[in-house]
């Protein structure tokens, strides 16, 4: 009985997870007529698959847009913001895990909450102030400008994850290193950091996912030079919604990240991810 229930649940959940993806994939091969005249599902039977949607987004004579340059931009911005967030965030997290900071009645927990609270603000109201800052720094429509702004949303995730992770690493490890003559900085880099790879990887992956998927800041703070992938895709949404093109670009834009799912699974299977959240 339990087994049947479990199998049913797993099947239903997997179908649910797959359904929008399959729908997006089939839609990306549909001709316009198979979209706007009512839902169609089965290729060849209900519609003749065509490459219209894909040709529109890939280089070639029918290309409506070039998604490859935006892919490069997305990659640079995501990598940059992830690197900065992980570097600074994990240092701060280590500090918050090992030392007691105090300022008046504020404790470590409050500092952690301060980091995390940076994610609360709806980004839309920050459009003008961030715009002004970047304008003043001459960083509008640059990779660096977008990277810095994204960092403010990503570092909180790193701090939140890594504090727990470092808490789970026995203190004896750093104490041992310091007994051998390291100062805390050396102890961190020589002994803790090598042990933290799984944690850093997970934190970095969250950063990659959230950074890659940001659309609002990219839309607000960049123009033609640092066009990112989601922004380029949204710009295809003209007066008449071309679902077949949008579906193709959606599938296109998730391919690089699905690769990540495999990497994450790797870490899970080796059991080395666990510490990341404890």
């Amino acid at each position: 009985m339990y087994k049947v229930l479990k199998a049913t649940f797993i099947t239903i959940w997997s179908l649910f997870v797959l359904f929008p993806i399959m729908w997006a994939i089939t839609t990306s091969f549909k001709p316009e007529a198979a979209v706007v005249n009512g839902a169609t599902f089965i290729p060849w039977l209900e519609f003749q698959p065509v490459l219209t949607g894909w040709k529109a987004i890939l280089p070639g004579p029918d290309s409506l847009t070039n998604l490859l340059t935006p892919t490069l931009n997305s990659f640079i911005v995501t990598a940059g913001a992830t690197a900065i967030s992980v570097a600074f965030g994990s240092l701060a997290a280590y500090g918050l895990s090992r030392f007691t900071y105090g300022w008046k009645k504020y404790s470590n927990a409050d500092i952690i909450f301060f980091f995390v609270s940076q994610r609360i603000m709806p980004p839309v109201v920050l459009a003008i102030p961030f715009f002004l800052v970047l304008k003043q720094l001459r960083l509008l429509d640059t990779h660096l400008g977008l990277i810095l702004v994204l960092t403010s949303g990503l570092m909180p995730i790193v701090v939140w994850l890594m504090v727990d992770f470092f808490n789970a690493l026995p203190r004896e490890i750093d104490e041992m290193a310091m007994l051998e003559g390291c100062n805390p900085i050396q102890a961190f880099f020589r002994t803790i950091l090598p042990l933290s790879k799984p944690g850093l990887t997970v934190a970095g992956m969250f950063c990659v996912i959230f950074g890659w998927n940001d659309i609002f800041f990219a839309l607000t703070l960049t123009a033609t030079k640092v066009l990112t992938l989601p922004v380029a895709v949204i710009a295809l949404n003209g007066t008449v919604t071309p679902y077949w093109i949008l579906a193709a670009s959606t599938v296109f834009s998730i391919i690089p990240l699905v690769g990540l799912a495999f990497v994450i699974e790797r870490f899970l299977s080796r059991g080395s991810l666990g510490g990341a959240v404890r």
Partner: protein, 289 residues
């Protein structure tokens, strides 16, 4: 320990973060006392007009109430489902590595783009769902133009997108649990359900709290699915603060008023999360291991 070392760790990150957000934050506070709008830019001073207008803004307070329902409900569903599939992927099913990858995929998709796909699924005339209902001879459902189904559609899109987040964190937590308590339970002859209730669940409490808190923060900003699927409609039946603030700040370009709403939202969110955090801490402590 020598002084200075602790600072070396915390300060670079803290200073960088503060450097990035200090101006936007101060600016946002200052702008709420101005009348920056479509025809008046710059920081004039009009006193507390925006604040008193907000106090009377029924639409805003309505959207906040709606948010309580939407965020708590979606996060609760995500947690329960995420925990369930994490347990399955933890041990006891065949081909679990395949399922782990499969179940992670939704999180990898861009929410703003997936929202468009969801719209093409829920849209009432040419959408996939009504298409399927039609095949089996059922009447179409007004997914986006009736309050109940519209809220359902948004919940579905949110659950799909973010359950994997819960799943990943909870699964990682499960994988890192020490083995001894389980062996002890097995020796006592505890049933699967008892083992879960007495061992697994309590040990997972700290991770659960962290995951729920961070999801609550993000879920409260729920925007993409609302904006793309219903634009807050029918009427105002699905309008959330983020969608309303978006409309005020960006579509109507009421920078000052939008900032007032957002700042209030920030304060309320911090208060609410602090309370929830305290409640969680109290609930999880006595049961702790």
């Amino acid at each position: 320990m020598k002084k200075g070392y602790p600072r070396f760790f915390l300060l670079p990150g803290l200073i960088l973060l503060i450097a990035i957000i200090i101006f936007p934050l101060l600016f946002t506070i200052r702008v709420t006392f101005s009348s920056w709008n479509v025809s008046q830019s710059g920081l004039n001073f009009i006193g507390g007009e925006n604040w008193s207008e907000m106090a009377r803004d029924v639409r805003y307070w309505g959207s906040l109430l709606r948010l309580f329902y939407l965020s708590f409900l979606t996060v609760a569903i995500q947690y329960v489902l995420g925990f369930a599939i994490a347990l399955f992927a933890w041990k006891g099913i065949a081909a679990r590595r395949f399922f782990r990858v499969l179940w992670l995929i939704p999180m990898m998709t861009t929410p703003s783009l997936m929202a468009i796909i969801w719209r093409s699924i829920f849209t009432e005339d040419i959408g996939a769902l009504n298409g399927l209902l039609n095949r089996v001879g059922l009447d179409p459902v007004n997914w986006l133009t009736e309050s109940g189904p519209a809220n359902f559609a948004i919940t579905i899109a949110e659950v799909w997108q973010w359950t994997p987040f819960m799943f990943l964190i909870l699964l990682a937590g499960l994988l890192s649990l020490p083995k001894e308590p389980f062996m002890a339970a097995a020796i006592d002859g505890a049933s699967a359900w008892k083992t879960f209730a007495r061992v697994t669940f309590p040990m997972m409490a700290p991770i659960s709290i962290g995951a729920i808190m961070i999801r609550l923060i993000d879920a409260s900003k729920i925007f993409d699915s609302v904006f793309t699927l219903t634009r807050g409609g029918p009427g105002n039946a699905t309008e959330t603060p983020a969608a309303y603030i978006f409309q005020r700040s960006l579509q109507d370009f009421q920078i000052a008023y939008g900032s007032t709403l957002a700042l209030t939202y920030l304060i309320l969110a911090i208060l609410t999360l602090t309370i929830i955090g305290k409640v969680f801490a109290r609930l999880s402590k006595p049961k702790g291991i």
